[in-house]
């Protein structure tokens, strides 16, 4: 008996220690537990350099070989395009100082002078021509970026610092696309001498930072490029991007001062970040949108009344408030309000279960009809949303069977083949910040991501939108397009994403980017 007492005591002590430690990350005792930490900022000893946590590694750096956000998070500091985008998402001069439309299909770019690549090679019209010849040629066609730039017919050198871009079709989103990803300018001599494979692992661009170390899945180090054309803007010596896939681990690294900026904080971690006094919590809206998409080939969701009913039945506001802690913006079409073409006058479907029941009755949907709902297995947050959706739909007499499937199979097999049930999760990055790309890929008949949706009016508007460069005209078309799509209820638009950043207070003037592409102009550390 005596023995058991001893052991019980030991166990109780162990549990107390463990729970005391774990509450350090939960809300209530956050401040108290961190007092010990708070006296001194643990990252203070670090020099004029910044450590940023990233969740994933893009595996290669050649701009024509990637479409990943993980690439542009780092790549934006190493490479530059003809145009660039400010932190407020305005298109502004980049490596081109100015440009002019000669006609709808011809643009003349005046290039910035005195710019050099990180290896000392000069930047000029030849480099621009080389970049686009490569992107649109044999090499580029095998990569994922090519298809974004097919509107460019050829680039002609019309001066040492002037190029003329000839288009084969009107492309209203071109200037946006030139600001990043595949169309960033690459060094001709360096690639010719070292080969594409070497370039892939040792990238060279004209950006404010040069890459000095890359250890795959571990870290990327970039250092200030001393001959950068706008070097006054860059105050930091060095930025290290550490690859830490697990968010809880990243938060621990932040608390111990090993990293300065943590991306993709989870809502459940927000309180801990707020409770640590050397950390600031920042949130920023992003162009990523989430919806529940219907497969309109399947009964009963082939009936517009059923799709509308489901839209009325789900209380999106409560979902955002309760599951996302308020970090999400309601949307009326499948894009965020940052995107060109967002219709601010269009309101999301309100929560109205009575109306939903009426519409379902009109469409003769029997009580207890089961709908298959597919979601990717790795997304814990969306699993909660799916359960809430199932609850709301049950309230109006529908049953929901949630199928959780492996993410890649879900994206690359089930959705395109129309095998993802009556409804499925749909998420979209919208990096062009223009509804064009999203709308076309989602609603144009025969697209990879569009297994079944077809609407003649939508087809007409999509074609019309792509035939003009006139922003006012395009805005009008998008207004009509979003209304048609809203009425036809191709999906239940849930919310656009708000990304959380946790930042060490020693970092000054840092503004989290809307598009995950870090820019360090003006950023300093204490």
């Amino acid at each position: 008996m005596k023995n058991y007492k001893w052991i019980t005591l030991l166990l109780v002590c162990m549990m107390l220690i463990l729970s005391a430690c774990s509450s350090g990350t939960s809300t209530k005792d956050g401040n108290k537990n961190n007092e010990k930490v708070s006296g001194e900022n643990p990252a203070k000893g670090r020099d004029n350099e910044l450590v940023v946590r990233v969740a994933g590694d893009p595996q290669n750096w050649d701009p024509i070989d990637t479409y990943l956000i993980a690439w542009s998070t780092v790549g934006t500091s190493v490479f530059e395009g003809l145009t660039s985008r400010s932190l407020d998402l305005e298109i502004q001069p980049g490596l081109a100082e100015s440009w002019e439309y000669v006609d709808d299909k011809t643009i003349v770019f005046k290039l910035r002078q005195g710019v050099t690549f990180h290896d000392g090679e000069p930047f000029n019209a030849e480099a621009v021509k080389f970049t686009f010849d490569r992107l649109l040629g044999e090499e580029g066609q095998k990569g994922p970026q090519y298809s974004n730039y097919t509107s460019i017919d050829r680039v002609e050198v019309t001066g040492e610092y002037e190029v003329t871009m000839h288009l084969n079709t009107i492309d209203p989103v071109l200037l946006t696309k030139l600001s990043g990803y595949g169309a960033v300018i690459v060094p001709p001599k360096y690639i010719a001498e070292n080969g594409a494979e070497h370039f892939d692992m040792n990238p060279v661009g004209t950006g404010p930072f040069k890459m000095t170390e890359y250890q795959r899945d571990k870290q990327v180090v970039i250092e200030r490029y001393e001959d950068y054309w706008n070097k006054e803007a860059i105050k930091l010596n060095k930025v290290t991007f550490k690859v830490i896939p697990e968010t809880a681990t990243a938060l621990a690294e932040l608390q111990t001062g090993n990293i300065d900026i943590m991306t993709r904080l989870e809502v459940s971690q927000a309180a801990t970040a707020k409770g640590t006094d050397f950390i600031t919590l920042m949130d920023v809206s992003t162009p990523t949108a989430y919806s529940i998409r219907f497969d309109t080939a399947k009964a009963p969701v082939d009936d517009v009344r059923v799709r509308q009913a489901i839209n009325y039945a789900i209380d999106k506001e409560t979902i955002v408030k309760e599951i996302l802690g308020g970090y999400g913006n309601l949307i009326s079409s499948f894009q965020s309000d940052l995107s060109f073409g967002y219709n601010k006058d269009l309101k999301p479907y309100p929560y109205d279960p009575e109306k939903a029941k009426k519409l379902l009755a009109e469409a003769n949907v029997a009580e207890g009809t089961t709908l298959d709902f597919y979601i990717p297995g790795t997304d814990g947050t969306f699993k909660e949303i799916a359960q809430a959706v199932a609850f709301y739909l049950e309230e109006v007499g529908l049953k929901v069977s949630i199928n959780s499937v492996e993410n890649t199979t879900f994206q690359s097999e089930l959705i395109p083949k129309g095998e993802a049930g009556h409804m499925y999760k749909n998420g979209w990055g919208g990096w062009t910040l223009d509804f064009d790309n999203t709308a076309y890929l989602m609603y144009h008949e025969g697209e990879f991501w569009n297994p079944s949706y077809k609407n003649d009016k939508v087809e007409q508007l999509l074609a019309k939108e792509r035939a003009t460069n006139d922003s006012a005209e395009r805005e009008k078309i998008f207004k009509e397009l979003t209304e048609v799509l809203h009425e036809d209820a191709a999906e239940v638009n849930l919310y656009s994403d708000v990304e959380l950043y946790a930042v060490n207070k020693r970092v000054k003037n840092f503004q989290p980017p809307h598009d995950s592409r870090f820019r360090f102009e003006g950023v300093t550390v204490e």
Binding site: L18, T25, N60, E197, T256, T408, G429
Partner: protein, 310 residues
């Protein structure tokens, strides 16, 4: 002995063929890497066909398999779709941290389990035994990601003794090794305790005691040595398992190991890396098993491997 080893090694070829067939065909059923590589773009059919041809995916699957196996004979594991690097290089690069971690985990497990198991058996029913049994139960029941986070919270965030994550030197090895080793030691304690209890009942132990040999010598030399046999089998199997199955611990501690590489590659449908990785792990497993069998004869000379062949 030599002929036994040769025979065992020839079995390896058969196992590798079986493993390669299963992994090669099963991963091709789960999705197409080309569509994933194009991401959010609008590829033309021409571009899709070109990329498929470049990756060799336009050929019939059986032909792809023979090409793969032919290359494998010359130790050419192919090139990663994702990073364009040679697969063998990537795997060897990642195998090292995993082997280090597995050894670390095993060391922790043995350091805890051997003394605790022995003491539990020797002092059966005493506090140390009860502690050993409870420890073992807790070890088996705790999920290792939870344990990993607790270790981070206590030793890295609160006490600041050790780094949170990464792979830089000995100090960063300690926490992941404990996370991996504690769970394993739970099962090992039980195993050692049970086999020790059995052996302690044996007559030769009583004889040894009667001869007046000191108690700890009896326990260590006579009893433990004989109780070691099942333990060695288990440790060998577990070591193989640790190499492939430490994925969660690798993920939590941002450990650049082979388990994480294979999981990432499965997600990206990077066929060559997945195939190469699984085959490499199978090879290691076979080798570990062989070594375990050979160890038998060293521990217990009565087991003479290969004698039957003569």
């Amino acid at each position: 002995m030599l002929s036994y080893i040769l025979k065992r090694l020839s079995h390896t070829v058969l196992v590798i063929i079986a493993v390669s067939l299963i992994i090669f065909f099963s991963i091709r059923l789960t999705g197409d890497p080309v569509s994933i590589m194009f991401g959010a773009g609008e590829p033309t059919q021409q571009a899709i066909d070109d990329l498929s041809a470049k990756l060799g995916l336009d050929k019939p699957v059986w032909e792809q398999y023979f090409i793969f196996m032919k290359d494998l004979l010359t130790l050419d594991f192919g090139t990663s779709y994702r990073s364009n690097s040679p697969v063998l290089e990537m795997l060897l690069d990642r195998a090292w941290p995993t082997i280090v971690l597995a050894l670390g985990g095993m060391t922790v497990a043995l350091l805890i389990a051997v003394p605790l198991g022995i003491f539990s058996a020797v002092y059966k029913g005493k506090p140390i035994d009860i502690f050993g049994r409870i420890f073992s139960l807790l070890g088996i029941s705790f999920p290792n990601f939870w344990l990993a986070f607790m270790l981070i919270l206590i030793f890295a965030v609160q006490l600041k003794w050790l780094p949170v994550s990464g792979f830089d030197g000995f100090s960063s090895l300690i926490l992941p090794s404990i996370a991996l080793g504690l769970i394993l030691s739970g099962i090992l304690v039980r195993l050692i305790r049970t086999s020790m209890l059995e052996v302690l009942k044996m007559q030769y132990v009583t004889t040894a005691r009667a001869k007046g040999i000191r108690e700890w010598l009896v326990i260590v030399r006579h009893a433990f040595r004989n109780a070691l046999l099942p333990t060695v089998t288990f440790v060998g199997l577990q070591f193989g398992g640790l190499l492939g199955g430490a994925v969660i611990v690798e993920q939590v501690f941002s450990w650049p190991g082979i388990g994480r590489l294979i999981v990432d590659s499965i997600n990206q449908r990077d066929y060559p890396v997945v195939q190469g990785g699984v085959i490499l792990l199978a090879l290691i497993m076979i080798m570990v098993n062989l070594i375990v069998d050979l160890c038998y004869s060293l521990i217990n000379p009565r087991i003479r491997i290969g004698r039957g062949d003569n």
